[in-house]
């Protein structure tokens, strides 16, 4: 569980991690369907506009 905590960055104890993994199970079962597909020729539906993005990135705050 320590390795999973490190990989995911989740700060929870073992019991909470187990509980979340169990609840995530049905969603993972759906998401796993994506892993069966050959999609290397498909461009992902992400869109980036550098000009507008310059107005949208104002909220980076350092923790005190």
């Amino acid at each position: 569980m320590d390795n999973l905590r490190r990989v995911t960055g989740l700060p929870f104890d073992d019991d909470r991690m187990e509980e979340l993994l169990e609840k995530y199970g049905p969603m993972l079962a759906e998401i796993e369907k994506l892993r069966t597909l050959e999609l290397k020729h498909v461009f992902p539906a992400v869109r980036f506009d550098p000009e507008t993005a310059a107005n949208a990135g104002t909220a980076v705050e350092e923790e005190e």
């Binding site: 989740l10 979340l20 994506l34 999609l39 992902p44 539906a45 507008t52 949208a56």
Partner: protein, 466 residues
């Protein structure tokens, strides 16, 4: 007269206010009195703007002075609690006090105020828009049933005659599901058509603002007022148009509609299926050609929206997760936010790839038809506290069933509208959905308006609220 005017369409209210036959101040007082009298049990508002009457008085003074008033002068709009407002608190449905939200008006609220509308209050939502129950809001048509969500307060408030119209937001169906469940109209415009600055995010690439209204023309009217370039929203596109309202009078003769055989025709409860068949018969009688299609990628749609929504919502809340603040969330929302980091980056990108495939497949269909029709939801509203419904002998989780026909159009960003299509055998509303080509809101509005003109469902009032 004003007691009846609370039920008028927004367009009729605006016409009467601008010609002086209806007092905007009296309309505001009537809505505030109804909220005071009826919303204790309904629980559709979380904050009410006591200045609404004063704003109405200013509109009346302008009319009496013989001056021209703005397009939406006197309109009283409920704003979902995730739209930031400078004069009302914004909590996005959460009780965690450590979380802060923007203090200025959101872009959409600013657009409405610029057109003369007043915000009568903030409507209740499922916490952070991560669910479609909206506790403790009740369904005006049956108090023990949910109003849908996440914009459940907006759907219930419009259905109960507590405001002229309301704003919602739709990530997997959160405008259209409460609209269908509460017997109102809900429009989810094309992704990018309406600016989102100042709306507390749920999933950046899926969130769509949209109006919930008493009829289709009102949705068109608000669409026109809300549209415009939002310079701080990277997805915003300037689509300002005056064609939306005009589209609501267009004939259906000679036009065409697509029905998707897979996914959209599966697992529909009998009352909803019967009503949809009647809708198709109406369309055929109106001179519409109906064609059938398959969209193979829908097999992966649920996987795609799970991956994108979980990862995006958890990215937004990541500091709250690290700081332990999610312990103050409602248990269902806390679980979803806490687990989003299980979605791998590769899974997320595969989800974005399947979105591309889905967009391509829908685009092919829409080369040959004007719109796609389906029920909005395969079920009607369900009892509060009940998590599973019987769908033709199969038990299905209410959350899985309720968004099955709505989330594909959040993934593809296509415009989609829900229009009332009657009641089931328990007296609960049924919704009919039309989806169209990107930025062709005029097509979905024209089909929904034509259906509405031929039926009186939108004019019906829930018992106990009239």
């Amino acid at each position: 007269m004003v007691e009846e005017a609370v039920w008028w369409s927004l367009a009729d209210q605006l016409d009467a206010i601008s010609d002086g036959s209806l007092s905007a101040e009296e309309l505001a007082q009537a809505y505030l009195a109804r909220i005071d009298r009826l919303d204790g049990d309904l629980a559709s508002f979380v904050a009410v703007n006591a200045r609404s009457s004063e704003l109405g008085r200013e509109v009346d003074q302008t009319v009496r002075a013989g001056k021209k008033v703005s397009l939406l002068a006197g309109a009283l709009i409920g704003a979902k609690d995730n739209y930031a407002t400078k004069d009302l608190p914004t909590r996005a449905g959460t009780e965690v006090e450590d979380l802060a939200f923007p203090k200025d008006d959101s872009f959409a609220v600013g657009q409405l105020r610029a057109a003369g509308a007043g915000i009568i209050g903030k409507t209740r939502m499922h916490e952070f828009a991560w669910g479609n129950i909206t506790p403790p809001t009740r369904n005006p048509w049956a108090a023990d049933y949910v109003p849908g969500g996440s914009s459940g307060g907006s759907g219930a408030a419009v259905a109960a005659g507590l405001c002229s119209a309301a704003l919602g937001s739709d990530t997997g169906g959160s405008v259209r599901i409460p609209a269908a469940a509460c017997g109102t109209v809900g429009l989810k415009p094309t992704f990018g058509a309406l600016g989102r600055t100042g709306i507390v995010p749920h999933s950046w690439s899926l969130d769509h603002p949209g109006p919930i209204t008493r009829n289709v023309r009102d949705a068109a009217l608000l669409m026109g007022a809300l549209a415009g370039r939002d310079g701080c929203d990277p997805s915003s596109i300037n689509v300002s148009s005056t064609a939306y309202v005009d589209a609501c009078t267009r004939s259906l003769k000679g036009r065409s509609v697509g029905v998707i055989r897979n996914h959209f025709s599966e697992g529909v409860v009998p009352d909803v299926a019967r009503r949809f068949d009647e809708c198709l018969a109406f369309l055929k009688d109106s001179g519409v050609t109906v064609r059938e299609f398959d969209i193979p990628s829908l097999e992966y749609g649920l996987a795609a929206i799970f991956a994108i929504e979980l990862a995006s919502a958890s990215a937004y809340h990541d500091r709250a997760v690290q700081l332990g603040w999610t312990k103050g969330f409602q248990p269902d929302v806390q679980d979803l936010v806490d687990m989003g980091r299980f979605v791998t980056a590769v899974d997320y990108l595969h989800a974005e790839q399947i979105r591309s495939v889905m967009c391509t497949e829908f685009a092919e269909v829409l080369k040959t038809v004007d719109v796609i029709a389906s029920p909005t939801c395969p079920i009607t509203a369900w009892p509060a506290g009940q998590w599973y419904v019987d769908v033709n002998g199969e038990e299905e989780h209410v959350l899985a069933a309720s968004w099955r026909f709505t989330y594909p159009f959040d993934l593809t960003g296509m415009p989609a509208i829900s229009v009332p299509a009657g009641l089931d055998d328990k007296g609960l509303p049924i919704g009919l959905q039309f989806a169209g080509r990107p930025f062709r809101e005029v097509d979905v509005l024209s089909f929904a308006a034509a259906y509405e003109r031929a039926h009186d469902w939108s004019a019906r009032r829930p018992p106990g609220f009239d």
